[in-house]
């Protein structure tokens, strides 16, 4: 049994992540599951599983949209926790782009890991992972294969609608008029990347760009974002766990103090 000193829970709107860290800040156990609308029983079950692996006594820090429903010692926003988790991974200032299922955050992180500024996407889905999920789902392109498809595309077919629902009908028309699926997929990624790039610009700042969140596992999206920003984008290891990691580290810091 490894000695977990704290557990972080990130209850996102799409997935629920639980992470246990040891005294050196390393992840010693974790779970990821699609979020159940009944959050409390799910979190209890996940905590039990992680505690069984990593140690029963560790205190819990919570973050994410469902954080207030977790019986935790400390609840912090996902902004603070993602900054914390990202800084623990890279140890230097920069801009973190976190793309989750239903929201996108940009956080400017300072030299001491502090939050300097942040921006979140507007209420609409078109700037989030949901945009790709809905439309690619309609095209029956599995998310796991899309990066390969995009890499094959000779050119991007532009998708101009700024609304997910309208983009869906636009894409249907494009397919009907014979445009190649790869090109459309590439166009979709470019459209999303340009919206995220606008968000990055609104939080300003130079420095390195890091990426976290489930969408960071999509290499086509990482490449598209890099092109839109004209800067290299570095994907953090275990990108989905960054928020939960930050929650665990914040909790650990409080308990050690």
């Amino acid at each position: 049994m490894s000695g977990a000193v704290a557990i972080g829970v990130d209850v996102g709107s799409t997935t629920c992540k639980v992470v246990a860290v040891d005294a050196a800040g390393r992840i010693v156990a974790h779970r990821v599951e699609p979020t159940d609308p009944r959050i409390e029983p799910q979190v209890d079950r996940l905590l039990e599983a992680v505690r069984a692996e990593a140690g029963p006594d560790a205190p819990v820090g919570a973050t994410g949209y469902g954080r207030k429903r977790v019986r935790a010692g400390r609840a912090l926003t996902e902004i603070t926790c993602h900054a914390r988790g990202a800084f623990a991974r890279v140890g230097c200032p920069g801009v973190l782009v976190d793309m989750g299922g239903q929201d996108t955050k940009v956080i400017r992180i300072g030299a001491a890991g502090e939050v300097l500024d942040f921006a979140m996407n507007d209420k609409c889905a078109a700037g989030t992972g949901r945009f790709l999920e809905v439309i690619l789902g309609r095209l029956r392109v599995p998310l796991a294969e899309v990066a390969e498809q995009v890499a094959r595309a000779a050119r991007a077919v532009p998708v101009s609608s700024t609304c997910t629902v309208f983009a869906e009908s636009e894409v249907i028309s494009l397919v009907a008029s014979g445009e190649p699926l790869e090109g459309i997929a590439k166009g979709l990624h470019q459209a999303l990347a340009s919206r995220v790039a606008a968000l990055v610009r609104s939080a300003a700042g130079g420095g390195e760009v890091f990426m976290s969140g489930g969408v960071a596992l999509n290499t086509a999206m990482v490449a598209a974002l890099g092109e839109a920003l004209r800067r290299p984008v570095r994907v953090l290891p275990e990108p989905q766990l960054v928020g939960a990691l930050g929650a665990a580290l914040s909790c650990a810091a409080v308990h050690l103090a």
Binding site: S160, T162, C163, F166, S169, S173, A198, R201, S202
Partner: protein, 440 residues
Amino acid sequence: MSPSLARRARYELAGRVAGPLLVSLEAWQRRLRRRGRPREGPFGPPLESVRKLKELMTLHYFQGRYADGAVPVAWVTSGFPVEILRPLGFHAVYPENHAAMCGVQRIVPGLSDAVEAQGYSRDLCSYARTDLGSVATGRTPAGRLPRPDLLACCTNICQTVLYWYRALADHFRVPLVLVDTPYVYGEAKPHHLAYVRDQLEELVCVAERVSGRRVEPQALVEATRKAKEGTDLWAECLATAKQRPAPWTGIDGFFHMAPIVALRGTEACNAYYRLLRDELRDRVRRGIGGVREEKHRLLWDNLPIWFAVREVSTLLAERGFNFVCTSYTNAWAEAGSRIDPANPIGSAARAYTHIILNQDLPNRLGILRRLAREYAVEGAVLHSDRSCKPYSIGQVDLKERLAAELGIRVLLLEADHGDPRAWAPEQGENRLTAFMESFG
């Protein structure tokens, strides 16, 4: 400010020699390219005058490139009483006209992105975002816009122009003259008109200081006379569309409106409209229509959808629909009725306060009703322009009242005048098609 003689000479050369040469060259090249291609499509033969229109506007923008330091430059809102600036030799630039050009060329999103990065909301007027974006990036389809020495703003079209021109004043660090026209609920009160007159007099002082000249009363009378004549001539052009078939399309009207806005008070503007009027009257005599087969006549309310103007026009023309009148083009015909060269300042106060957008909804309904009757329309499209609150507020009620009072079909169409990101083409064209189908 005293312009250098060399720059002034170059400005005049550009206007009188180089510009016209360049424009003729371009026109000759275009004719060469078009030779041999058959005319097709649902429209009637194109207007000959359009060539002259292009020359006139190209020349205006071309000459503008040499205006810096040569003559005083003013950036002016479309509703501003520009005749007051004409005697002072200002070269007038119209950011709205420029933004419309950017809209047609579909370059607004890039310009808007530049100012959105500065923190401007995308919900703000697309003309403002286009203009501020052009200033921020230096990008313009007009080659180069001259820097303003003076900003001239009149709130009769909306309050937004004031916030927009303030941002310009902040950027260029030049004086801003404002004519704040109180909104007319019913009748303009005497102290409202007095306020406008006071402001006109205040602005003359500032304009004189900036230009280094004085307004000669006779020159002001002359500029006012020309402005009135221009609006009267424009009204005559519009009136030809009362005939069946209308000799031109509503879209033609939107484009040919440029001189009365941007060149009002000049002889070039008036000469152009005489030419256009004569051609339109000739087409009426010969029964030539703007649309090849005119089946249904419509009214358009609000600004055009600049970036989709050809698509919309073609979609309608293919089924024999034509916009024979619009409240937007009509606004410049109405203004003339109150302008009086014998009383330039007093009549300007009255005329510019009574622009359609500065008056209440019953007045607007009255204008739409009158246009609908005079031009014998069977339907109306009210463009619910996201960017233009003064024009769009009340349209839901206007739609119901027009339909009920006149027994015509009315469509409320949501779009924007400049930003294509606010328009869903499939959905929009579907609505228009369904509307047309409802005519049977």
